[in-house]
Amino acid sequence: MDSLINKKRPPLFCPGCSHEKAVNALDKAFYNIKLSGDNIVMVSDIGCSGLFDTFFNTHAFHGLHGRALTYAAGIKMANPKLNVIVTMGDGGLGIGGAHLLEACRRNLDITLLILNNFNFGMTGGQFSSTTPADAIVSSGFLNNLEKPFDVCQTAIAAGASFTTRCSAYISDLHKKIEAAIKHKGFSIVDIWGVCPGRYTKKNILTPKIIEEKLKKLPAVEGTVSENIRKEYTAHYKEITSALKPFNMVKEIKPEFKAPEAGKHSVMILGSAGQRIITAGEILCYAGLKAGLFTTFKSDYNITVLRGHSVSEAVLSDKKIIYTGSGAPSVILALNKEGITRKKAAFKTLNKDTLIITGKDTEIPATDAKIFRVDFKKLKIKSNERALASLVVMTKHNKIISYDMLTSALKEIFNQKIFNASLELTEKIQNSDIL
């Protein structure tokens, strides 16, 4: 196998730029692992590191600044067999910080080469997230105020399973890259180098100084034992292959005849924990059991365990054009919070609307017909009132029948919950509340 360097577009950097060392070391690593170009995708970021993909005869993806790791993740998930190599500068590291952390946490088998030359070379030498505070850069004094971050330590803290940092000038750079590519999981090689076009015009940085600086940092030597774990694509496959198919669509064949013709809307007003949303769905399914068309909306607080809960359902023997509910045929007024939420609706009601409510529940002044149920006497708990009220509705021959209701319960619930709910519905059905 030959070198994968693109002879038609050979590496072309500023004279003295350390990036060229990285290009050649990467090529040597590919050669040693015996990877063919069509087994590799180079995903390059923006800036001088973004030129890397053009120098190789491999698949290539050159995207947006800081986002290389996101494209790499998508490619790897779609084709786990590909060797995915990402090149990114210290600029991309900063703007794509969240993606770096996520890549470390996720542990996809991707190799990230950081071409770390301590400044934004392409845009004129501004400071990056790795620029020393005492460096002279084109961002004025601003870098004096900030502490550069150590990529490897950050990555280890975030869960990276392989990190190494080294100078671009070492003779065995290719071996570091090789080890990173061979690692099954997310691997980082933080390659420190010199940007002669910008950085070393005003700062002194030589291969020797780089070595000295690196020596002062805590050692990182490839595999991070505490972070070794399953590679993400393999783990994803392992979990998902055990998943059972999920049927999202429940098809209901009509079995019953609805007690009323026309279009009717129902409001169920209560509070969190009263199973208001479930009651709304039960009502809709009861409608479907008689071939009624239905729409259903719910409204509840972001604190899902506290506050109002409102269901609004429309049931009609004709296709529903407009989904707004209009004047309701029935209101199940079960709790102050839901009632307050829809307070305005009560004012305009007339006797065509039936309000079913508890003996102990306050409702706003209204011209609607009110039917009060002594839930306490019937030993109906707060979270049973919604379903109990649906039975009361059927006793009034309003919109749905008792058979439609229980058939809906059977459709929605598993056997255990169905039995429990049936016990409740029968209690109301057999009572003499009407």
Binding site: A60, G63, G74, K253, Y285, F296, Y322
Partner: protein, 376 residues
């Protein structure tokens, strides 16, 4: 008859799965999250991938990577997320990456109201990324449309290699309704055109034979041939170019490949009333109030017709001109402060256009629309 109770987000997901979507990534945001939930139930069980991104930028980034690796990809968000998608949207436009993007619109501006509906992103979807080159936007009216148009969106994304948006709305997305999936029109699936060159022919990722063509595709990772993708201004081979004539040719092509074909994907619905002299133009959830308003007006012996647009961008100019020809009065109703009406005014510059809009998180009621029509 067999009815199911499904909301627009669920039918978007079902439509996507039926279209062959194999990759979904999204970041949680109300009212779009339940699309993510549904895709998580639909894709991984069948060898597909569903991912939760660390942010919206990552989510669309994953999709673009996956799409270039050859799989059909979709993401879903709401207005705040579309803002964060913007740079990647223009990447997908310029670099011809097929992707379906669902925007479940909610009331803005900014964080706005997570659980209130609006159609406030209609111009934003068209113009909210750099370059101004065209994209495709389809607008569903109900859960059935969400299924059909999402399937169409995949077909268009694959065919034209561009971002295709579903401009949904909280009021469609989170309203469950009875729907008979068996009765829905099921568009045939269209796949990306793969490289058809001879074995000795070089694959050039952006090469086309004719000026309005879409390049043939090979996935990144293809065995035996190399594929390139780049966000930089590129020539046919996918390398940076500074050749102005080559650049211009390509920009024109990116415009024409979509705009020249809009007739082929102009989706719409009409409500025709005899002797009507008013035409109401609308789209999305508002179309349902318009339909109801037309019925209310009939009872008052007032005739109005309606044109419900389901392809919003590129604006179906031919259809709009043709369908409005015989009407003296044109009324545009939108769940915003006046967005698509600007496009209608541009297309029908010789007609007087009346506008009614509302953006307060509440559905426009049929009675409000019938009042607007009655008041001439």
């Amino acid at each position: 008859m067999a009815l199911s109770l499904l909301d627009g987000n669920e039918t978007v997901a079902l439509g996507a799965a039926a279209a062959g979507c194999k990759f979904f990534a999204g970041y949680p945001i109300t009212p779009a999250t339940s699309i993510f939930n549904a895709m998580l139930n639909l894709l991984p069980q069948k060898g597909g991938v569903c991912m939760q991104g660390e942010d919206e930028i990552a989510s669309i980034g994953y999709c673009l990577g996956a799409s270039m690796a050859g799989v059909k990809a979709m993401t879903a968000t709401s207005g705040p997320g579309i803002s964060l998608y913007s740079e990647n949207i223009s990447f997908a436009i310029g670099s011809e990456i097929p992707i379906v993007i669902v925007d479940v619109q909610r009331l803005g501006p900014s964080t706005g109201s997570a659980t209130r509906g609006a159609d406030g992103d209609i111009q934003f979807l068209r113009w909210g990324s750099s370059s101004g080159l065209p994209i495709i936007v389809l607008a569903p009216v109900d859960a059935a449309d969400c299924y059909i148009l999402t399937k169409q969106a995949f077909n268009l994304a694959e065919q034209f290699r561009c971002p295709v948006f579903i401009a949904s709305n909280k009021e469609i997305a989170l309203t469950k309704e009875s729907i008979d999936l068996n009765l829905l029109e099921k568009p045939e699936i269209i796949e990306r055109k793969l490289f058809s060159g001879k074995p000795d022919e070089e694959f050039m990722p952006f090469a086309v034979k004719k000026s309005a063509d879409v390049p043939e595709f090979l996935p990144i990772g293809f065995k035996g041939r190399l594929a390139r993708q780049t966000s930089s201004t590129h020539g046919a081979k996918g390398y940076i170019t500074i050749d102005a004539s080559e650049i211009e040719k390509n920009q024109n092509r990116l415009q024409h490949k979509i705009e020249a074909c809009v007739d082929a994907f102009t989706y719409f619905e009409e409500v025709n009333t005899d002797a009507a002299d008013t035409l109401i133009i609308c789209y999305g959830i508002t179309a349902r109030a318009v339909k109801a308003a037309v019925n209310i007006l009939k009872k008052d012996n007032i005739s109005a017709s309606a044109l419900i647009l389901k392809t919003l961008w590129p604006a179906p100019e031919k259809l709009i001109k043709q369908k409005t020809e015989k009407f003296n009065k044109i009324v545009v109703i939108e769940m915003n402060k006046g967005q698509y009406v600007k496009e209608i005014e541009r297309i029908l510059c010789d007609k007087k256009i009346k506008f009614f809009g509302q953006m307060n998180g509440v559905l426009i009621e049929p009675e409000q629309i019938s009042e607007v029509i009655k008041n001439g």
